[in-house]
Symmetry: C2
Subunit: 203 residues, 2 copies
């Protein structure tokens, strides 16, 4: 029994060290050596957990998923557009913690685009995220808050794209785009999505 | 004279090999060894050009900048909103070449977020990009195509964010978001930006 407890505690130590390395240096700085140094352990110990770099990357995505799932969520003030707004707020770098999390996810894109398995995980992650957003979009359409004639998948993709892109812009220009400006931009964007009516013929 | 020509030709070979490695593996896969292998040269030769990893990363950003500047641009059908649309089209992964270029830029974010010098370059790059977009936004406001009462910097940031985020979504789901859908999403987005009116009170 104590051995099992030690084992679990050690796994938690490893995961915590992986997270600290990710938050400080991103996926590009994630190495067995960096995690070992963060734990004050030997690289040899780490190879016991991660026989290859890919195992380490895979675990790092799990750790990032866990942190993301465990974060505090914004309580929506209602269904439809308000719920969509709350869900988008939850991905913006509005706090130091959310900034660290976004920095990790943005850094994961390089590794994911180079590796079909990791890339497939990200593709599924974003598809699940969009599915969640789409439920709010469809509710907002039923409530008359978003154009009923628009394709809900398109509205969802436009909203998801805006939020992801704002994350990137804000990470590179935190002084230019502080939290209060992100909120203003989100509301400007949502006002447009709500007022958007029919898309013009491309021209 | 011939020596000089050889030197320039060799530099071009190095830059071309750096680009091919970036396009295939991103910044995370960019190593002296990978560039040397791509050229059929020795790693020793490469250390002559790049004494450190950082020199290689710095050069890689230069190479990516050159490719980006040299790309074909969309001819706008007019000033204002049409010019904004054309400028946003120029960043979307609508072709194989534009996809490769975007894959390189997205992969650069990890390295840039870990390194103040490289990060500073990206921050300036995106500030310059937004300055260019803002000129079109202001023209569109004067033409009555975008809400005159909106802050042009905010409209510009919303547009830049949408485009960057769509790049990321499309890179991870190319089958779900092919070129024609990107165009439809862009037009849906621009219709909203045009119709957006006053931003609602946050709520």
């Amino acid at each position: 029994m104590p051995a099992r407890g030690d084992h679990d505690a050690r796994r938690r130590d490893v995961s915590a060290a992986v997270w600290r390395v990710l938050a400080a240096r991103g996926f590009g700085g994630l190495t067995l050596r960096a995690v070992a140094a963060e734990m004050g352990a030997s690289t040899g110990l780490l190879t016991h957990y991660f026989p290859s770099k890919r195992e380490l990357l895979r675990h790092a995505l799990d750790v990032a998923d866990e942190h993301t799932s465990a974060r505090e969520r914004t309580a929506p003030r209602g269904p439809g557009l308000a719920a969509l707004r709350a869900a988008l707020l939850d991905v913006l770098p509005l706090t130091a913690e959310a900034t660290a999390m976004n920095r990790v996810w943005v850094s994961s894109w390089d590794a994911a685009l180079s590796d079909p398995e990791l890339g497939g995980r990200e593709t599924e992650r974003y598809a699940r995220w969009r599915t969640g957003l789409r439920a709010h979009v469809e509710a907002a359409q039923r409530l008359g808050e978003l154009p009923a004639d628009a394709d809900p998948g398109d509205l969802t993709l436009v909203a998801a794209s805006f939020a992801h892109g704002l994350v990137v812009q804000a990470l590179f220009a935190p002084g230019h785009i502080p939290a209060e400006r992100q909120l203003r931009l989100l509301d400007r964007f949502l006002a447009g999505l709500a007022a958007g009516g029919a898309a013009p013929a491309g021209g």
